[in-house]
Symmetry: C2
Subunit: 327 residues, 2 copies
Amino acid sequence: MTDIQMINAAAERLKGHARRTPFLTSPFLDDIAGRKVFVKPEALQHTGSFKFRGAWSAISALDDETRKKGVIAFSSGNHAQGVATAAARHNTPAVIIMPEDAPRLKIENTRALGAEVVLYDRVNEDRDAIGAKLSAERDLTLIKPFDNAQVIAGQGTTGLEIAEQAAEHGIENADVLICCGGGGLTAGVALALEANAPTLRARPCEPVGFDDVARSLAAGEHRSNAKPSGSICDAIVTPTPGQITFPIMKRLCGPGLAVTDEECLHAMALAFLRLKIVLEPGGAASLAAALFHQDQIKGDSVICLASGGNVDADMFARALNSYGTPK
Amino acid sequence: MTDIQMINAAAERLKGHARRTPFLTSPFLDDIAGRKVFVKPEALQHTGSFKFRGAWSAISALDDETRKKGVIAFSSGNHAQGVATAAARHNTPAVIIMPEDAPRLKIENTRALGAEVVLYDRVNEDRDAIGAKLSAERDLTLIKPFDNAQVIAGQGTTGLEIAEQAAEHGIENADVLICCGGGGLTAGVALALEANAPTLRARPCEPVGFDDVARSLAAGEHRSNAKPSGSICDAIVTPTPGQITFPIMKRLCGPGLAVTDEECLHAMALAFLRLKIVLEPGGAASLAAALFHQDQIKGDSVICLASGGNVDADMFARALNSYGTPK
């Protein structure tokens, strides 16, 4: 189980490899939110999302013999790019299993980052069987996207930085809003804050209709989403909280917040205008919650962990068309 | 005349007020450029451009009595926002003189940042006369955009950071490409590099047809542009190099580079895709030079100072439409 010692150890291994992303602010965002808004843009992390941290943490924690044989991951998104890049920099072979109908650009990017991409047919093939066969043949280590103690520890290094940066900015009591899928980032950050900044409170942010973590926290036990997909926030849509991540979130997190797709597009446009950063819809969920659900938030300041920026030009243009010109 | 002592003193005054912008990288950009590319995004600076540094430096250098009376600047662009914000944080009144046909958004932004905006009619009124009258009446101090020793010192703090960050990244010999208008940023950075990283070479980047600094450097004396405007890189179009900045650039800079508007749009799209940052056309000139004029650059690495990100949604969408989907 991930604890603060594991997070501190992951931070040591990540030193000089992950970027310490800044805190960004704008008086225009403060006006909208009714309090000081601090955005920590993990979109500026290597590979455009926080996933690089967890992947690096997990791969660097393997013993040399195991690492040399290689790693395997199932992902067509940010986790794939994080694992591919972290593996390449460790000279570790990486196999990424993706559906053959994944966007061509994501497949090519993952290959360009040095991974071997294995495609499967979503309808006629069993992803897990393909992965199990490859893992057995080559003795590969599976890197799960969130239910992995070392992955959670890596994501938790973001929380160590938030604790330091909050102190630098004189923030004492504040909600820390976190874009949340399976809960790896949220659980890791919550553990880091518990140890280093216990007056900051981690809170997961999810799309309306895909707020399994919020509902699970409210119920005190696992809840699932009615549908598997249907939000533009694809990076943070998962069916139910993780087995490892949920007990941590249940112990440490404040209530979850749910935001609409339109609120995320609006937050993307405001991040473009006021912070000059690129966020993907799911990566803007925390900022959307701060800007448009202020009555659910406590404190004079709010910290938004903006988790990623891997968005295609069409979706970004959609945000700009709708909300890119201030009224 | 600005020197390294003035830059170091400006850095002390800017401490805790300006952001230390990071070095960003992407293997995809390295592939295009044929060498390692390090981008320092001053788009992430307060007010979306490096201009905040110079404005803060100049205002903080005034004696209390003078500062209390207020400052005045002529600008409809990044300098206006830098002066307005730096003045507001010093509780200093700021008057910004803008043409009445400036974009409404820029006028409103500058007001929202706390400045008094005075509009004039470009055709029938004399900007300088209006400024002189107001300055005399209220005893305001004029903050020029580049021909001011303390402004140059403030912009030079970017160069102090580049020297440190280059050392952290093991960069020994490299060209430092700088988006260049009147030369305040270029001259300041060149002075900082001379003192702290003499193997790094500052080089101005300008739009084709508005490369007055490049031609002046080649001629050894001031040259002017044929036209006053006509590039989308409006932030870095100036008629001729500054009186204070040119002698510094002449002594320290390598040859200038000229980039087309299309190259800047392409660089903006690549910065969106690969770095997750928003650049304005003029702020992308240095990256465009690194990516598309690699035969004019020396060394295994190149550093691009991306000067600003204040671009409207339409122009950004134009960049994405043309170049936002990788081939």
